[in-house]
Subunit: 195 residues, 2 copies
């Protein structure tokens, strides 16, 4: 399944069974999280109206007219994944962790984003398991205010990206794939960097 | 499998088949990445000496003597996952992306960490599929220099955390789990925040 998963950027317009969307979201909340903080939230958009609102708010010029946008906009479901840093700072200020200063420099990396990203991967995998296609993509920073405003997203939640879900249509593979996959031997170091 | 996966913090000391570690790493590099940047690297530590070097360098007081450390140190394999922001800035400065200013504010969130986190989840899942246990945990910021120095990790790679891999021994479930899993209905908003 690891090898079958890839981003799908073109969809048929027929709807996705709501029970499948339920399962995708049930899997998302089984992602691991630091201190079991679970600092995440998901915006489920699964009506033509809500999906259209998303594209208008969250993409340049209301979604564009290029081939990417045309294919992506056909997806009947969009799920936006959001991370909540505050939930992590709150969790680690509790007595069993004791970081009461809530100092972000204690965190080697922002696990709120990483854990929410793991939830996204579980959604992508579940879509594949259900015979559907899915694609994860970012919301450009310049559209963040419009997105928040349209859907009432509070300032303490940051969208890490959106996932389209739908029935796969023929699509062009990402041109980025021409770069080639890095070989395991090129990215794995054994015992010491360079070894 | 999503539901079977959990962090395992105590291990038997018998070795892990190196072919299994190979498969774990082969799956890791099938994580998705923005622009197929693949800005990640993995440090594979699978000898008693290398694993001991890891605990000495990367944890307070050389690994501690608490129950957590005692169980974790028995794991015969540690894989450290590292993200490389530079690879993403380089990739998106290429002609098809065109962000030649390499301005980090173009990025809504640090996808280098998120993508490497997805690679980590694939490692955790593969360990479960192979009948093994695994645990993902961070390297404290105050140990970063010692870790880099011990293993020759360059400054443009940031460890997002380490994964222990081994045969499961009886362990105490994380006390954090007592917090309870957040219900899907509490974290999913439909059409608008709060709905």
């Amino acid at each position: 399944m690891v090898r079958r998963r890839r981003m799908v950027r073109n969809y048929r317009t027929d709807p996705v069974d709501p029970a499948v969307v339920d399962r995708i979201l049930e899997h998302a909340v089984h992602a691991p999280s630091a201190g079991f903080s679970q600092g995440w939230a998901f915006l489920r958009l699964d009506t033509p109206t809500d999906v259209a609102r998303f594209w208008t708010a969250a993409t340049p010029s209301g979604g564009g007219t290029d081939a990417w946008s045309a294919g992506m906009r056909r997806a009947p479901v969009v799920i936006v994944a959001m991370s909540c840093r505050r939930a992590y700072l709150d969790r680690y200020a509790e007595p069993d962790k004791g970081w009461t200063d809530r100092d972000e420099s204690r965190w080697p990396v922002p696990y709120w984003h990483i854990d929410t990203g793991m939830a996204v991967l579980l959604m992508l995998q579940t879509a594949v398991d259900e015979g559907l296609g899915a694609c994860f993509f970012g919301i450009p920073p310049e559209r963040l205010d419009a997105f928040r405003s349209e859907f009432g997203v509070p300032d303490d939640h940051t969208p890490i990206g959106a996932v389209t879900v739908g029935h796969r249509a023929a699509d062009r593979r990402s041109p980025s794939l021409k770069r080639g996959r890095r070989r395991v031997d090129d990215v794995v170091h054994r015992g010491h960097w360079g070894a």
